[in-house]
Symmetry: C2
Subunit: 342 residues, 2 copies
């Protein structure tokens, strides 16, 4: 099919080695020869064979995006599209490729792990929102596979990129206190994920800073899905909070549904602040006041960090790179601050 190095060499009247040097921009080739080789290579449409190349270099220029089983169900959350877009963009600009693996439940996790990660398919991997005790993390560490986690793992030597969830949540809840709310509930994310924990921590910090006691009946755990937002809000209603911090936009959408069913107006009867700022957050009614995290940038940063790790995997293990990007409160309608201003 496609011409090989050999053929280009023959046509150019030089050896394979020379062509290889030209193609890889290595020194020690006479400019005229270099030019002639390029000429021929272009003419015949030469394209290096990826497998042959990586067989000898043991580099594939492919990195994996691993979505742990625990979160495959919420893969349709726009969060992941945005993360993917950031990651692929970064890959594009470094001439790397992204391989996507959803470690779904029905698939044999072990089998996939072996096949993908130990067969030399990948130079490294990005792990999206793994829960804190996901065996995937330990496996990757054990097998010394270079990887970067999206979402921090405080007690393990892993490179990660994360948003500042604690401060984001704190800002959100402080905003509610500033609006005069004192009975503030929260629907948390899954508490086996650091994002869930950290946002809960931020919630607690904000209340404590204002001297508001944290009441357990005002805290219900969700799992980031819209459905869990609905259920969470239903469980919260008997405690009659005046405001709720919902740990993700999708859950907030679910919570809104529950509130409509219960005939409560947002923000008049109850105020809502959530987290993520995915595109629909501003499109729905009421528009969501929410904490923006730079999802696309987290995706591209994860790739950048991974590539830098791959670069200097020359020596021994360097310190884990830990990057926390700032979050920002975006005030819209669901918190009722516009209302209180008037």
């Amino acid at each position: 099919m496609s011409p090989t190095l050999e053929e280009v060499a023959r046509l150019a009247g030089v050896s394979r080695s020379t062509v290889s040097r030209v193609i890889n921009d290595q020194p020690n080739v006479r400019p005229e020869v270099r030019e002639r080789v390029w000429q021929i290579a272009r003419e015949v449409g030469y394209q290096p064979h990826a497998a042959a190349r990586s067989l000898v270099t043991s580099r594939t220029h492919v990195i994996g995006m691993l979505i742990p089983e625990a979160v495959t169900t919420l893969f349709s959350d726009p969060f992941f599209s945005l993360l993917l877009r950031g990651a692929t963009d970064a890959c594009n600009s470094h001439q790397y490729q992204l391989m996507l693996s959803l470690l779904t439940a029905n698939a044999d996790r072990q089998e996939i792990y072996q096949r993908i990660l130990r067969s030399g398919y990948l130079d490294g991997a990005i792990v999206a929102s793994a829960s804190l005790d996901d065996p995937l993390i330990s496996d990757l560490l054990r097998d010394r596979i270079p990887f970067v986690s999206v979402g921090r793992h405080p007690n393990k030597p892993v490179h990660y990129v994360d948003a500042d969830n604690v401060n984001g949540a704190r800002m959100a809840v402080e905003h509610l206190t500033r609006l005069g709310h004192r009975r503030i509930a929260t629907i948390t994310g899954p508490l086996d994920m650091i994002a869930g924990q950290d946002r809960l921590t931020g919630y607690r910090q904000a209340l404590e800073a204002r001297g508001i006691p944290v009441e357990e009946e005002l805290i219900v755990e969700g799992d980031f899905t819209e459905a869990s937002g609905t259920v969470g809000m239903q469980r919260l209603l008997p405690a009659s909070p005046s405001a709720v911090f919902v740990a993700s936009d999708m859950m907030a959408i679910g919570a809104l549904k529950a509130l409509r069913q219960a005939d409560r107006q947002v923000p008049q009867d109850i105020a809502l602040v959530s987290f993520d700022d995915i595109p629909i957050a501003s499109a729905i009614e009421p528009a969501l006041t929410t904490v923006r995290q730079p999802i696309e940038r987290m995706g591209s940063m994860a790739v950048e960090v991974l590539l830098s790790v791959l670069e200097d995997s020359s020596g021994e293990e360097a310190l884990a790179q830990r990057i926390v990007l700032p979050t920002e409160l975006v005030i819209r309608a669901s918190c009722g601050s516009a209302l209180s201003r008037s």
Copy 2:
């Protein structure tokens, strides 16, 4: 690092060929030998090297998911997450991998094309929602790269999987006529995509079937983004339609925004029916009456078709496989049919 065939062979006291036969489940190996080899392979954690293997078989077991430049901007539409999930699921169950490529504008399209598609990275590709004249399609055909399109290409010899957009749209608009509407507008998808065209065709068919004249001032073109739904609805308002068929849920969400700004109630003042049935369609207020297309199944079918094409690429080109999956109208609140019933 990882042990090789050679090592397993040495430990088992047999030749590489024998180990290869065992690993690949080929005949002509004594059961006892087979057992011993497996034993050792497991012990040392043998995993075949993908590159080495594909160098000789010229098969990578990787297929590409190509998102054309034209649609990378709407990649955060849940449509693509669902498509990806369907595709990766199918890949998982066939031990294939999915490589994701967004052919973004800033990246050099030609360069990426060459690097990904002509370097042997991929066994084949899936192309998502390419516009009808996307050069990507012609390039793939020219280079004889096996691929399946999500979205039909009626006049080209391409394998495709699509939803029945014409009938879906027709059902949607017929439903509106049945509710008594006669002044029905539409916000179309991009008309250089077959999905945009087909849904417009369905709209026309439904009107003509009822003897309602098609008025050009009731047709505005969108591009499937939420923003274009808002703009489209704003342009439509002066023509005062009593109902609108919006060609995607995301655009419908945008349209709702415009209607709120204009103080029109849905469905009381104006009825809406859209297309896709992405998860949020049922979560927002009003819940969207929409045409459900089986997005995940389209993703998995695309993979299945591609794999079947890869199978019998033995002989010459067979006929293009063309699969159109049925669509279904899901009635919720935005069309006002519940209202008319009461």
